[in-house]
């Protein structure tokens, strides 16, 4: 019997390559683990066991025919905002409760081409709007380290499934931290690639100038393999950029001697959990001992990022979500009189409270009389935030910060105060505004045994240096070896 508890993508790939197990056996073990644990964890919205076993059989046949590859036969799972043909794709919303994806997202198709096996669809905050996965219309996902805590969000199902050994890897999306913050809360690795690095074709849109797709896995190498498989120009997404995709996994082993790491003072603030600060500072010292050169730097407009982000993201969301009109797909609520009433009732019944709140906020920011003061102002502040990073990257190769100011908070703790929930994104959102790549990885545990995340931010399209610093830190420490206990 295969035990997924002690298996990474790269270990599983090696075992498959040696012919010690088949993908069908590995997939069966993952499905059994989901069956045994998801009743409590609630990470999956849809488990596609038959599809997974058929894909596993295909992967085994490809291997028998001489093919090889880091993801060939590896079971993964996909956030429910990403389309998988023929499978229900709800984006965590009631308004898409019966939506069967008519086509594959480009990232879904690319993972399949690489031979990955899709176990099913993962829970998330509705339309990826949230920091705790509590905004899902369907279920609340628990943090595998402590069932009374949130897994982070919005890709909380993705992070929980990987941390709880249900899946070896997962795809998430990140608009303001939705890959990195849950990766931090669940003690795994997750990377938001540079804006334009990965296609969003077939991904349910939240805020189009910020959204990116990226992988979550137990290790840096696992993320490198997955990003290599999904990155690249796609004619289906006009913002995807035509640049060669490096072999990220092959470049990891490089030394960090002489790597210049900036430590921004604005990311070590009053009110943050002391254990988080201590763990991240200890991480800085580890990289120094490996030969990296660290320097205090300043990103002076950091304190304006939350306001700029939530104005831009909600404005774009209010426009993107106008498509849910109850006509061509999705829910429709009958109304006694007229088309407008049908729209209003459909959207009232189909959207949850946070989605309505963000649509309202965005509609307000874009409405006559407020556009200049809110939306345009936020876009100008976005320029200032971007320039802060450009200035630091003139002298630094990467920037190192905490991923979040606290470890995973209690389920229900922030649901009644939306602004408090928004403030939990304080260390991740600037990266999206500037379009940069950033990775979160475990760097310690707090007094309650909850994982702490360290964030490494890179220059645009310089995922290599982000991965290199992360891999060097991971190899020098043992945080990634500490795993969730239990069955």
């Amino acid at each position: 019997m295969i035990d997924l508890r002690h298996l990474t993508i790269e270990q599983a790939a090696a075992t498959l390559a040696r012919g010690e197990i088949s993908s069908v056996e590995l997939t069966q073990a993952a499905l059994e683990r989901i069956e045994a644990t998801d009743g409590e964890l609630h990470a999956f919205l849809t488990v596609t066991a038959d599809v997974a076993l058929a894909q596993a059989k295909e992967a085994d046949a490809r291997r028998a025919a001489g093919e090889s590859g880091a993801l060939l036969g590896i079971p993964i799972a996909i956030k429910d905002v990403i389309l998988t043909k023929g499978v229900r794709s709800t984006a965590g919303s009631k308004i898409l409760g019966n939506f069967i994806a008519p086509y594959d997202a480009t990232v879904t198709a690319k993972l399949r081409a690489a031979g990955a096996v899709c176990l099913g669809k993962l829970n998330c905050d509705e339309f990826a709007m949230g920091s705790s996965t509590e905004n899902s219309a369907y279920q609340v996902t628990c943090n595998p380290w402590n069932r009374e805590r949130v897994p982070g969000g919005s890709s909380g199902g993705s992070a929980a499934a990987v941390a709880a050994h249900q899946s070896l890897g997962a795809l998430g999306t990140d608009t303001g931290g939705s890959i990195r913050q849950p990766a931090a809360c669940c003690g795994i690795v997750g990377i938001k690639p540079t804006y334009g690095r990965v296609s969003r074709y077939g991904v349910v849109a939240y805020a189009s100038s910020l959204d990116q797709v990226g992988p979550l896995a137990k290790t840096v190498l696992g993320c490198a393999h997955m990003l290599g498989a999904i990155a690249g120009r796609d004619p289906g997404d006009s913002t995807s950029v035509d640049r060669p995709v490096p072999d990220y996994a092959a470049l990891l082993a490089g030394s960090v001697r002489g790597l210049r790491i900036g430590i921004p003072k604005e990311y070590f603030v009053e009110g943050m959990q002391p254990e988080v600060e201590r763990a991240v500072q200890a991480g800085v010292r580890v990289l120094e001992q490996l030969g990296a050169r660290t320097t205090p730097v300043s990103l002076p407009h950091t304190e304006y990022a939350i306001a700029a982000y939530y104005l831009i993201a909600t404005s774009e969301a209010s426009s993107n979500l106008a498509r849910y009109d109850g006509i061509r797909y999705g829910l429709r609520e009958a109304a006694p009189a007229g088309l407008t009433a049908m729209y209003q009732r459909t959207r009232a019944a189909g959207f949850g409270a946070e989605v309505k709140r963000r649509i309202m906020l965005g509609t307000y920011a874009l409405s006559a009389g407020y556009y200049d003061a809110y939306y345009l102002k936020a876009q100008k502040v976005r320029t200032l935030i971007r320039r802060d990073f450009e200035r630091v990257f003139e002298t630094q190769d990467v920037i190192l910060t905490p991923t979040a100011p606290t470890t995973a908070f209690r389920i229900g703790e922030k649901t009644s105060d939306p602004l408090q929930m928004y403030l939990s994104d304080i260390f991740t959102i600037s990266v999206n505004l500037a379009g940069l790549p950033a990775l979160s990885m475990p760097c310690g545990f707090d007094d309650r045994g909850l994982p702490i995340g360290l964030q490494i931010i890179g220059r645009p399209f310089d995922e290599e240096n982000v991965f290199r610093a992360a891999y060097a830190y991971e190899q020098a420490t043992e945080w990634h070896l500490k795993e969730v206990d239990g069955r």
């Binding site: 009232a348 906020l361 320029t383 971007r386 379009g435």
Partner: protein
Amino acid sequence: MALSREEVRHIALLARLELSPQEEATFTEQLAHILEHFEKLAALNTDAVEPTAQVVDTPSDREDVVTNPPAPEELRSNAPARDGDFFMVPKIIE
């Protein structure tokens, strides 16, 4: 930043959202609280700053041709109401 109940109703109409009286009250309070936090942007002088709408260069033009394989049945099968090849909608013209 004070936000009136009437403004919230107007925004809800623009957004095509039917709100219950309870939702109206909650949103009036919450949005005002959030907007108050956002007021801090006003303190920054941005007169000489260009706005950033998008961080990648303007996408290049492409030919306007259909490249998706046709899948009319898959697309129509998600419709909440249909009649054969047609999407059914409420009557909008008397």
